[in-house]
Symmetry: C2
Subunit: 122 residues, 2 copies
DNA sequence: CCTCGGTATCGACGACAATCGATGTCTCCG
DNA sequence: CGGAGACATCGATTGTCGTCGATACCGAGG
């Protein structure tokens, strides 16, 4: 059964995975060393995918800015394992937070690492 | 022969390849449609690579903010064909501009599309 | 308990990308 | 006009990534 958006379950603590927020100078300010470049590239790879971009956009477009997997497979046109895979990538990059509520896993966009990424492209 | 940075050649016109500046709403403002997501992802893929990030960083770190290939292969530790390949990717993404001066091809970072990308991650 | 539904993981497959050596192209210069 | 040097392109190889079906896990409810 798909949860309706009007369901109100008590909210547990939102666990957050380590943020891949590369602590390196902005791209054009100083020459990037090899390690910083790889970290920044890894963070960018996490969002350099159409499905994952649409995931972030879709989650944020929901009321309460959160969604569970079953709400995302159909508008994306991707299978459930594929959606789960992309959410895992975003989770490990620290770009979404996951919260289990009953049988459902709710995902929410983390805006801070996104802002950090933005500032590194200066 | 490698050109010295003190050489001053008259500057031709900098030809600019089409900018992949996706004209779509910021990521978290409205749900991205499929085409916008693919365009934005393509632009992000162009910089989601350690070698290309270091290329941009290295070029910008030169005096006059420009560099030719022979100045970039050694600090990157990559072969000349590989550096040329990455520069082509950046060129097609509109993130660098290429200018031929004599035997040498000078590359320069285009900051506008970078800024555009930044604003799309809001 | 036992089943059911939501989600994650696994294994496989096809597509794409990064890299390099070899080679082609163009420009300068003698 | 012929050689040398800078850069681009080609072809091949190798690794990575997106995708899916099958299956395992896990909480909820009867």
């Amino acid at each position: 059964m798909m949860p309706t958006t009007s369901i109100s379950v008590n909210m547990g603590s939102v666990q957050r995975i380590a943020t891949i927020a590369p602590s390196c100078p902005p791209l054009l300010q100083a020459p990037l060393d090899v390690d910083d470049a790889e970290q920044l590239a890894a963070a960018l790879k996490a969002i350099a995918d159409p499905a994952r971009l649409r995931l972030l956009s879709l989650i944020q477009a929901q009321q309460d800015h959160e969604a569970c997997v079953c709400h995302l497979t159909e508008p994306l046109g991707l299978s459930q394992p594929t959606v789960s895979h992309h959410l895992k990538v975003l989770l490990q990059a620290g770009l979404v937070a996951r919260e289990q509520r009953g049988s459902w896993a709710y995902f929410r966009v983390c805006e801070e690492p996104l802002a950090a990424l933005r500032s590194l492209l200066a």
